[in-house]
Symmetry: C2
Amino acid sequence: MTYKELYNLIKKKKSFLCVGLDTDKNKIPSFLLKEEDPVYAFNKAIIDATLPYSVAYKPNLAFYESMGTEGWISLEKTVKYLRSLNEPLFLIADAKRGDIGNTSAMYARTFLETMDFDAVTLSPYMGADTVTPFLSYQDKWVILLALTSNQSAADFQYFENKDGEKLYEQVIETSTEWADKNRIMYVVGATKAEALTDIRKIIPENFLLIPGVGAQGGSLQEVSKYGMNNHCGLLVNSSRGIIYASTGNDFAQAAAEKAKAIQEEMAELLDKFLP
Amino acid sequence: MTYKELYNLIKKKKSFLCVGLDTDKNKIPSFLLKEEDPVYAFNKAIIDATLPYSVAYKPNLAFYESMGTEGWISLEKTVKYLRSLNEPLFLIADAKRGDIGNTSAMYARTFLETMDFDAVTLSPYMGADTVTPFLSYQDKWVILLALTSNQSAADFQYFENKDGEKLYEQVIETSTEWADKNRIMYVVGATKAEALTDIRKIIPENFLLIPGVGAQGGSLQEVSKYGMNNHCGLLVNSSRGIIYASTGNDFAQAAAEKAKAIQEEMAELLDKFLP
């Protein structure tokens, strides 16, 4: 998906919601456990319920890998189902990978070719070698961790040079030399909404993937105020807040209601901040 | 495996060699492709051939994941085979993961419990949250990326604060507060042997996992000179140099010869540098 196609999708659906498919077998409604593939059954129901309100889906690979082979099968089926819907959707493999050249190339093939994701999240620690193998796939994206929303993000991301520049700013600056706004996005935690102003000075045009709205306590209003650009430039992720909105028989309906509420707020924010 | 058990294993085998199982289906001898599970057949032959000379094995997960479900099965079988040998071996899941609390906990369970690895490599970018879930498993280890051996390592790992301290040094220093030498090791690329002196000032006792000897150009002599401590404190990895020593029918024998040559050099170095 191109930058422009993503923007058009956001405008059409009046939504920049990404649904995080952090599906944990221990948390899904128990009646699903009798299904042949409970994780897939859950994902399929969540997708059907939230599809009118979201532009992106983001399975967090840790949840699938932790189930071994069975988990990979659920993941592959989920992606295949999303693609079978025959409508544009931005699919993110939340892998947080960070490896060098030859192994990065293997990961790129897995996620962008074999599984047909649009984007992969990557950790910047090992530098350009981690990212460049992913850039040879047309209309596919890299989403680089910059400022994450977890508590210990400050351990190293705030490490500061003599000019007062922080590591996460250096990561953003340096990586803009590897790819432009059409190929690279950044993860910026919603718990740091005020930092968005500074980040927008470095990268006015790039999309940002914002986790941490909802369960992790970020505010959609703040994020939009400080982070939105004239192509929206935001994908805001919600995982637990949507997919575990209810743990009963009505889980899908509850997820739809949550997603709808977020989408309606997003529609207002797009009206307010888009030119 | 405990610190002391690892040291005893190194003394007994006069080796601190880790064999990197970076198994690529496109690079293994073609006659293996008619096997039911070519990657596993290759690994098994390599393990049998190199077992007398090595103390550790390190599958790089990217190679397995890139084959999807099939790759995970090969990996699981490889680990099971290594454990069936009924002799002490230090098994490293080279995963380079870096995720937050709840997903880190899932990875920890996958690698340290479900698959019975001794250690997992982790990326430090997201801070303590990435590491702590792995520390609740007894006698299991975290191996944190500090200074990697790839070309673009300098992009961020050399990012320097006003006191001239580099990011990788900060990573090492900060993480020593999370766990002691019994639970945490560090990846330090062999291409940076001179940096080992400075690193040993910060962590005199911890084990270091050194990739990049061989194909990536590091010297075993240099690494031992600057990096060895009084419990050896080194695991030196060789992947391609051993497993692809020959691509013919004699691949296992060629791997054995390569591993033997490295082990013999290591025996001399242990004699020379150990108290």
